[in-house]
């Protein structure tokens, strides 16, 4: 029995010496020692020595949460020749000294009780072996934005087979829509498209664009994924991307890539650098006039194509589904403003700034195509709002600074450019300097958010905002209003998360396994997170996160196997009567009733079992138990608590 002081974390509250003396009086306790930092090398050496010296057959460590140092102490006793699962930890820090800092007497009492319970359970522990699972040496990336592209390239470069599924006709994501990136004002396409090309040409990568993940099933070696390949009605292998069909097509609809500001045809190639550079027919709007078919020299048009499913087997999945913009018209302030007003989102402005956009890079207002002389940016539209997104979109302020600068540059110094903000959060490297640069360029930053926005008949927009710096109620008449729209989880993320059993945070984005220590992992083994699907990020953060996810996936896949805790369900066959209730409650499809020797018996797939215990609770005969948490072991602990 070993008690850790954890410096003053434990010993500052709990009277460790008293606990030690009390524990020494417990039956079966051969040794009881305390040490300032049990997790330190000398602390571990102490444990190893005592195990050898006294030939101990069970070890209890009273210290922090097992999620911190259980692996440390397991290794220590294993080195001393003991099975690592013959260790029990009593959490006297998080569950005792930290929460009872103001009542040291009772905390000391509780520490002893927790240890007494741990000792009782330790007596019942059984030696176990971790399970070794072989994994498929391939990965699936869901999402072809900059996060997915980065993760896919990293994994493919380390020699692994990579499948990338993207639901749009081309990879590229939001970054492909941007004109410049902050704070360096690098051309977004110039730094993105080389990566897109590298991905398309990579021998280890298979791109599945215009496709969606339909089903994910955990298997022994990883996952079986069902991908829905939507019909393009154009044969990818035949289309040369010449664009003759696009020119000929008579149907025009708002272009998604231009954020609705410009038209595209019913047969289209989303943008010049699209990958794959093939046309796609938008089935919803195509009128089947057949003009495209007539002009296609390659004979690539195929109206007979049908949606089909493709099954993939992969060892790891990297989710890189990005985010979407909040539609300002979903907010009461903007709900009544119709289309075609001179109120646009920052993504729409990005398309106006882009040379591949609907205006060829000229900032022109939608209503009359004239160049605005006054432009106002509003930050936090739908962000930091308890009725909409309580969270900060993180990148809005930097976007506003960048776009304000760009507008000044494009329209000219004499343009009046205002940014109305709540707090200016330009937090990244080089961004404070960037913000200063915008101030120097004459962008007027106003601390204050307007309560109402009014579209006037002449196309201008009237805003009234109280400026906290001058204590003036300012009326601003703008030719163009740009809303820095809040950022939301992408469409369909909830369904995808539930298919993969991934937890979502209160903001609707995917939750990581640990916010500090495992930011690119999920609680599900083999599934990793890259980029904004885990919360809004800028490009710098996204690529760093994506590479982290790829590294985590690669380290698992390159080894070829994973060791998992043996805390899985076991069926005592004599007691099982094959009722199947365990199968009903299992979230992981890990337990099923099978016929064996003429009768029905539950069978556990240990590769899938997560040890959650649902089946054990449900089992009416007590045939199903969870290793390391068997009734005998838990009851001993409970008996010690109440006895």
């Amino acid at each position: 029995m070993f008690i850790c002081h954890c410096g003053l974390n434990i010993a500052g509250v709990v009277d460790v010496e008293r606990v030690r003396e009390l524990v020494r009086g417990l039956p079966c306790v051969v040794v009881c020692e305390d040490y300032p930092y049990m997790c330190s090398e000398p602390g571990q050496a102490l444990i190893r020595e005592r195990v050898r010296e006294h030939a101990l057959d069970r070890v209890v460590v009273a210290a922090c949460s097992p999620s911190m140092h259980e692996p440390t102490f397991r290794r220590a006793i294993e080195e001393a020749g003991l099975n690592p699962y013959l260790l029990e930890m009593a959490n006297i820090r998080e569950q005792c000294s930290w929460v009872h800092a103001h009542e040291p007497e009772r905390a000391t009492e509780k520490a002893f009780e927790l240890i007494r319970m741990a000792v009782a359970k330790a007596k019942e522990l059984e030696p176990l072996e971790p399970k070794r699972l072989e994994v498929e040496r391939s990965a699936l990336i869901i999402g072809g934005g900059i996060a997915g592209i980065t993760a896919a390239l990293d994994l493919a470069d380390s020699g692994l087979q990579v499948y990338l599924v993207e639901r749009a006709p081309s990879i590229g994501g939001h970054m492909a829509m941007l004109d410049k990136t902050f704070p360096t004002l690098d051309c977004a396409a110039c730094i993105l498209t080389p990566k897109m090309v590298a991905l398309a040409k990579h021998p280890n990568v298979r791109l599945l664009t215009y496709s969606e993940v339909k089903e994910v099933r955990a298997t022994e070696g990883g996952f079986e994924v069902l991908v829905l390949r939507k019909p393009r009605f154009v044969r990818e292998d035949a289309c040369t991307g010449c664009g003759a069909c696009v020119e000929r097509c008579p149907v025009e609809v708002p272009s998604e890539f231009d954020a609705g500001l410009g038209p595209r045809k019913a047969i289209y190639i989303p943008f010049p650098q699209a990958i794959p550079k093939v046309a796609t027919i938008d089935d919803e709007h195509c009128i089947r006039c057949g003009l495209c078919e007539r002009v296609c020299e390659a004979g690539a048009i195929d109206f007979g194509q049908e949606a089909r499913e493709e099954a993939l087997k992969v060892g790891a999945i990297v989710v890189a589904t990005g985010l979407r913009l909040l539609d300002p018209r979903s907010l009461p302030e903007y709900a009544l403003l119709g289309d075609g007003t001179n109120i646009i989102t920052h993504l729409q402005l990005e398309r106006l700034l882009s040379s591949s956009g609907p205006t060829g890079g000229r900032v022109l207002r939608p209503s009359d195509g004239l160049e605005p002389r006054s432009v106002v940016f509003l930050t936090c539209v739908g962000s930091r709002d308890e009725c909409v997104n309580p969270y900060c979109c993180r990148i809005g302020c930097s976007i506003a600074v960048k776009q304000a600068l760009m507008v000044k540059e494009r329209i000219g110094e004499e343009a009046d450019v205002f940014v109305c903000f709540i707090d200016m959060r330009t937090y990244g490297r080089g961004l404070e300097e960037f913000y200063r640069r915008a101030r120097e360029a004459g962008v007027r930053f106003i601390r204050g958010s307007p309560a109402e926005v009014e579209a006037l008949p002449d196309g201008s927009i009237r805003l009234v905002v109280f400026d906290q710096a001058t204590w003036k109620l300012l009326e601003i008449r703008a030719d163009l209003l740009v809303l820095i729209a809040g950022l939301l989880p992408p469409e369909g993320l909830e369904a995808l998360a539930s298919a993969m059993k991934l937890p979502l945070g209160p903001d609707g984005f995917l939750s990581e396994a640990h916010p500090k220590l495992r930011p690119a992992e999920t609680p599900i083994r083999g599934i990793f997170l890259a980029g904004a699907c885990q919360g809004p990020k800028d490009i710098v953060e996204t690529t760093a996160h994506a590479s982290a996810a790829a590294m985590k996936a690669a380290s698992m896949l390159m080894k070829g196997y994973v060791l998992v805790e043996p805390y899985t369900a076991v069926v005592e066959e004599e007691r099982c009567r094959g009722c199947g209730r365990c199968e009903e409650v299992c979230d992981f499809g890990a337990i099923s009733v099978e016929e064996r020797d003429g009768r029905l018996i539950a069978h556990v797939n240990e590769a899938l079992c997560q040890g959650c215990g649902s089946c054990a609770v449900r089992c009416p005969t007590g045939a199903v138990t969870i290793r390391h948490f068997k009734p005998r072991q838990v009851i001993a602990q409970v008996a010690a608590a109440v006895g």
Binding site: R436, R439, E440, G442, R444, K472, L474, E475, A478
Partner: protein, 175 residues
């Protein structure tokens, strides 16, 4: 949108409008730029004359930044500043509010607006004696009044030569 443009900015409390040209002229001569101001208000936190100022240093900077300069030129606050330069020293963005206030004063004088009497008296004193404050008796903590003569100090030479006055005027940029 070349033709007639609506006014972009209006102060709805006074219906005042910014004067961008004036703003440009005033800022042009200054070492610091109001544009850089982050509104941290460190200038006001440390301002010697804070209690006297109707408009605080950070507000003055903010008004200039938006172009509301007219109301500042006629404001009493620009004359209440002690010109201690603490704000210049403390500003993290090198905005120099005191320099701005000086520029606003110069604009007021150029327009021949009324200068507070104590200041014109001070100016007269400088012209006459070279001193902002002429020699005066001071009461010490022992309750007695002391003049220079009580301390055995020589009398202050009063009056400047014409050349010195001219040089001084030159230095102040006035005529």
């Amino acid at each position: 949108m070349a033709e007639k443009r609506p006014v972009v900015l209006t102060d709805l409390m006074s219906m005042a409008r910014p004067s961008p040209e004036l703003r440009k002229r005033i800022s042009a001569s200054l070492p610091g730029k109001a544009d850089f101001c982050l509104q941290c208000a460190r200038c006001t936190s440390g301002c010697t004359a804070m209690r006297l100022l109707e408009l605080k240093p950070h507000e003055i900077v903010a008004l200039v930044r938006l172009g509301f300069v007219e109301e500042l030129i006629s404001s009493k606050s620009i004359w209440d500043c002690a010109l201690c330069l603490k704000c210049v020293e403390k500003c993290p963005q090198e905005v120099a509010p005191a320099e701005l206030i000086m520029a606003l004063r110069n604009e007021a004088v150029a327009r021949e607006l009324e200068v507070p009497e104590r200041l014109s008296a001070m100016l007269m004193s400088i012209l006459e004696s070279g001193l902002a404050f002429g020699p005066r008796k001071r009461t010490a903590r022992d309750g007695r009044s002391y003049g220079r003569e009580d301390l055995g100090l020589p009398e202050v030479r009063v009056g400047l030569s014409e050349a010195a006055v001219m040089a001084l005027m030159d230095l102040l940029g006035g005529a």
